[in-house]
Every structure is written in structure tokens, then in C-alpha cells.
């Protein structure tokens, strides 16, 4: 009986068993664009267990140098409550600001720890982690992982590096010489183009070559305009250039002229011709969403006009009108008896 009593007491003092299951999503940030302004990354911590739980975020030493300590977002020791029975789409949203005024390449992680550790002789802190791979630039000057002095490609917004500078410095201490190689890359400005067309709306009723003005006045690079008619328009375009180079600095008054020869249609309908602008001699910038920008020229096909009737000289209108009037008056007067011979 005494043994049963002590067993009962023992069961009372054992804490009720509960479960915590921590997860994070997304768990990896591989930022391909170069970071030269403050940038926010977001992820959610979730807990599919039965109990609400507090978690803290502990960046490793690499990541710690590039994230902003702002307790509104993250700061050392800040605890985040993560509700039980949450999942990747409704867990606690974590926002972290990446710094802009630094120049470094980071490949590190942010560990996420539960604030409660297991009991016993050795406390075990289970964690998950968010991986961060990013390149931070100071203005236009970015670090690169390459150590060659040739141009480096990047998938960031400004596609191709124009110039790369390699600095090699040596330091000797005792009989040990340390050589440091620093590679900096100068990134050209963002490539901007303008797509300008006139006329942007035309009516076609005969086979007439149509002159179209194209310009690129505010662009900082030359542009190629790709002329892409829709199916209806293409059936009635006898001749056109599929692409036209439009230099930067061309304006509405100093345009590039391209000619499209339309063939008339017996039916009336509307169609469109896209003028898609892309920078000349530059890679198309890639991203999750790659943009194709342009202007659509609206084309209205009308039934061909009837041939114009030959014009008469007004003098002959007068002569014919006078003769007809005299004859008509003569007939009227004779029949009414006003005129008697």
C-alpha cells in the first residue's frame, strides 16, 4: 500500500508531457541581387506541437555583421511567441532588416532556439536554422567571390560588371607572409530605355506605306525595338522590319523612321502591333519575373473607299444649271399659258 502511495506521489510531480515541434519557412535565402539598400527578409516560425512556445534567434558571426539590431524587428535576446498548432502559412512572422552600409559576402545562418531546454544532466537545445547567402555592396562597389581580374557576370539588376579592380597586399610578420586579395567590382548604372512611337493609333483602308517615328529620348543606352504584330495584324503586313535599333537621345523631333506596308482588308477589324523595347548589347535582366515592356500600336482596318468620282469645273456646273433652268422655265411657262407664241 505504501508503494502504491509513493508511486501516486511520483506521478503527480512529473510534469505533464507536452510536445513542441519547431519549423521555419522559407528556410533559405539565396539573394542573387546585390544589396546596396536596406532590405527586409521575412520568414515564419511555426510550431505544430501542443503548447505555445517562445523562441529566440541567434545569427552566426557572419550573419550578425549584416543584420540590423532593432528590437522592433530583431535584437539580441528578443523572444518570439509562436502559437501551438501553427504551420508555415500562419506561424509567427519574423522580419529582419539587412544592412546597406557594408561590403561583404555572407554565407551563414540564423539559428532558431526554443527557450525551454530539456531537463536532466545535459540540457539539449534543439534548433532549426535559416540559411542566408547574400552579397552586400557599398553603393556601386561590391565584393565578389571571384579572384580573377576579368569581368564578372551577375544575375543582379545591373547585369554585367564593367570593370574589376584587384588589390593585392602582403604583410610579413616574422617568417610568415600573409597575402590578401581584394577584388572590387564596379557596377554600371541601371539600363533604362524609352519606347516612343508616333502614330500609336492608325486607320488603314488602302495599301499605303506607313511611316512610324520611333525614339528613345530618356534612355541611357541604345535600344532595340522588337516589332511583334498579333496574328490578325501580321496577316495584313506586307513588309516591315522585325527589329529596329533606336539610339538613346533620339526624340520625337529627331526620330528613327520605320515603314510598315499594310495590305487592305475587305473586313473591318482592330488588331495590335507591340513595339517591345530591350537594351542593346546587354543581357536581359533575369528575375523571378522577367519583364518585357513596350507600346502597342492599335490598327483599325476599314473597308477600302470607293474610287472618287471625277470632279467637274464649277464653270460647267453654272452653264449646265443655267441651261437646265431655262428649259425648265420654258416648259412651265408654255404649259401654264404664260407664254404664247
Amino acid at each position: 500500500m505504501r508503494r502504491v502511495f509513493w508511486l501516486f506521489i511520483f506521478l503527480l510531480i512529473i510534469p505533464t508531457a507536452y510536445s513542441i515541434s519547431v519549423g521555419v519557412g522559407p528556410a533559405r535565402f539565396n539573394i542573387t541581387e546585390q544589396i546596396n539598400t536596406e532590405k527586409m527578409i521575412e520568414f515564419r516560425i511555426f510550431n505544430t506541437g501542443d503548447e505555445d512556445q517562445y523562441f529566440t534567434l541567434e545569427p552566426d558571426s557572419k550573419v550578425l555583421t549584416v543584420i540590423k539590431q532593432d528590437c522592433g524587428f530583431w535584437c539580441n535576446g528578443k523572444a518570439y511567441l509562436v502559437k501551438a498548432h501553427t504551420y508555415y502559412n500562419n506561424g509567427t512572422l519574423i522580419q529582419i532588416i539587412l544592412l546597406s552600409n557594408t561590403k561583404t559576402y555572407v554565407d551563414g545562418q540564423i539559428n532558431i532556439f526554443s527557450n525551454s531546454s530539456g531537463g536532466g544532466m545535459v540540457g539539449v537545445r534543439g534548433s532549426v536554422a535559416v540559411l542566408l547567402i547574400a552579397r552586400f555592396c557599398d553603393g556601386d562597389v561590391c565584393p565578389t567571390t571571384t579572384t580573377t581580374s576579368t569581368t564578372a557576370k551577375t544575375t543582379a539588376k545591373t547585369t554585367i560588371a564593367k570593370a574589376t579592380t584587384t588589390i593585392i597586399s602582403s604583410q610579413t610578420q616574422g617568417n610568415i607572409t600573409t597575402t590578401t586579395v581584394t577584388v572590387t567590382t564596379t557596377i554600371p548604372a541601371q539600363k533604362i530605355i524609352t519606347v516612343g512611337i508616333d502614330p500609336a493609333k492608325v486607320w488603314i483602308d488602302s495599301e499605303t506605306p506607313l511611316e512610324i517615328k520611333l525614339w528613345n529620348d530618356k534612355g541611357n543606352v541604345d535600344a532595340i525595338f522588337l516589332i511583334e504584330p498579333d496574328l490578325n495584324c501580321s496577316k495584313h503586313m506586307a513588309k516591315y522590319e522585325k527589329q529596329v535599333v533606336v539610339p538613346m537621345g533620339t526624340t520625337h523631333d529627331t526620330p528613327i523612321i520605320t515603314i510598315i506596308v499594310f495590305t487592305p482588308s475587305k473586313d473591318e477589324f482592330e488588331c495590335g502591333i507591340n513595339f517591345i523595347g530591350i537594351p542593346k548589347d546587354a543581357e536581359q535582366e533575369q528575375g523571378t519575373i522577367t519583364m518585357k515592356h513596350g507600346i502597342t500600336m492599335r490598327v483599325f482596318f476599314q473597308k477600302p473607299k470607293e474610287e472618287a468620282k471625277p470632279k467637274f469645273n464649277p464653270f460647267w456646273y453654272f452653264v449646265v444649271g443655267t441651261i437646265v433652268s431655262i428649259i425648265a422655265a420654258f416648259i412651265v411657262l408654255v404649259y401654264t399659258g404664260w407664254l404664247q407664241f
Binding site: 539598400t37 532590405k39 508616333d198 500609336a200 500600336m297
Partner: protein
């Protein structure tokens, strides 16, 4: 007296009819062609990592106005857009209608509530925009279907301006 009638009446009739045949109006007409010019200040939207099963993820920094186009036209105009389905190049894809787009003259007013889901045919994002030099800010919201295979997906969106 009869001779006078014989001459006078046709003459009066001629005077009455002559102006009708001489009234040959000259119509002067001129058509001012419509032009439109757009300066595009971005060429891609990079999202980074997103979780499957999340809805309406806003494009990074869009409230700061990083995706913008400056348009000048001499007539009312509209903006349309269409896109291709997202694909990873390895046989996995999800529909372009998971991407919504909005356009507004103020970046801070971009809202998913007024955004239009894109398809593979042109959708009108905004129309009857008055002719003035205007900068249009664009916003994008991307949803990832639940259970979507984990990979790097991309799409191409074509956006065009035209007179209405």
C-alpha cells in the same frame, strides 16, 4: 409684255438655282496623330524564397516605388499585361494567375485589393488614363500553391501601354 416674261422668268429662275450649284464648300481637315512614349525603369522582379501555400506575397520594396514607368501621351491611354506560366525548367509549373498586378500613380497606394490576376492573354490593369507625363508605380503579389514542388521558378510578363 409677253416677250419680257419670256426673258425675265427664266432669268429669275436661273438666279435662284445658280447659287445651289455654285455652293461648292471646301472642307479643311487635319488629323493630329496620337503618340505615346514610356520610359521603363525596371526589367525584372526578384522575389527570393517563398513558402508553398502562401498567398499574395508582395514584391520586395514595391511600396518604395522601385517598379515604375514614366509615360507621356497626347491621348488617353491604358496599360495591359499578360504572362507565361511559372516554370522551373524541369517540368514543374504553376499558373500565371497566381500573380496579381496593380498600377497606381502613388506607390504607397498600391493594394492587392485592386490588383488584377494575370493570364496568358492581355488583361487591362488600368485604362482611360489622362494624357499627362505621369509616373506609374507597379505592384505585384505572388501566391504559391500549397504543396508546390520546391524549385526556382520564373516567368515572363509582357506589359504594354497603348492609346484607348
Amino acid at each position: 409684255m409677253k416677250r419680257i416674261d419670256f426673258l425675265a422668268i427664266p432669268l429669275i429662275a436661273t438666279m435662284l438655282l445658280a447659287p445651289t450649284v455654285l455652293a461648292d464648300d471646301v472642307t479643311v481637315s487635319a488629323t493630329v496623330s496620337g503618340y505615346i512614349t514610356a520610359t521603363f525603369n525596371y526589367a525584372a522582379v526578384s522575389y527570393g524564397s517563398l513558402s508553398a501555400g502562401t498567398s499574395n506575397n508582395a514584391a520586395p520594396n514595391q511600396l518604395n516605388g522601385v517598379y515604375n514607368v514614366t509615360v507621356d501621351a497626347n491621348n488617353n491611354y491604358k496599360v495591359q499585361a499578360y504572362g507565361l506560366n511559372f516554370t522551373d525548367g524541369g517540368g514543374h509549373e504553376f499558373y500565371i494567375n497566381n500573380l496579381k498586378m496593380d498600377s497606381n500613380a502613388t506607390a504607397g497606394n498600391l493594394a492587392v485589393g485592386s490588383a488584377v490576376a494575370l493570364t496568358e492573354v492581355a488583361q487591362t490593369i488600368e485604362t482611360n488614363i489622362l494624357p499627362a507625363v505621369t509616373t506609374h508605380y507597379h505592384g505585384y503579389w505572388l501566391s504559391i500553391p500549397a504543396g508546390q514542388y520546391g524549385a526556382a521558378y520564373s516567368s515572363t510578363v509582357t506589359e504594354t501601354y497603348s492609346l484607348v
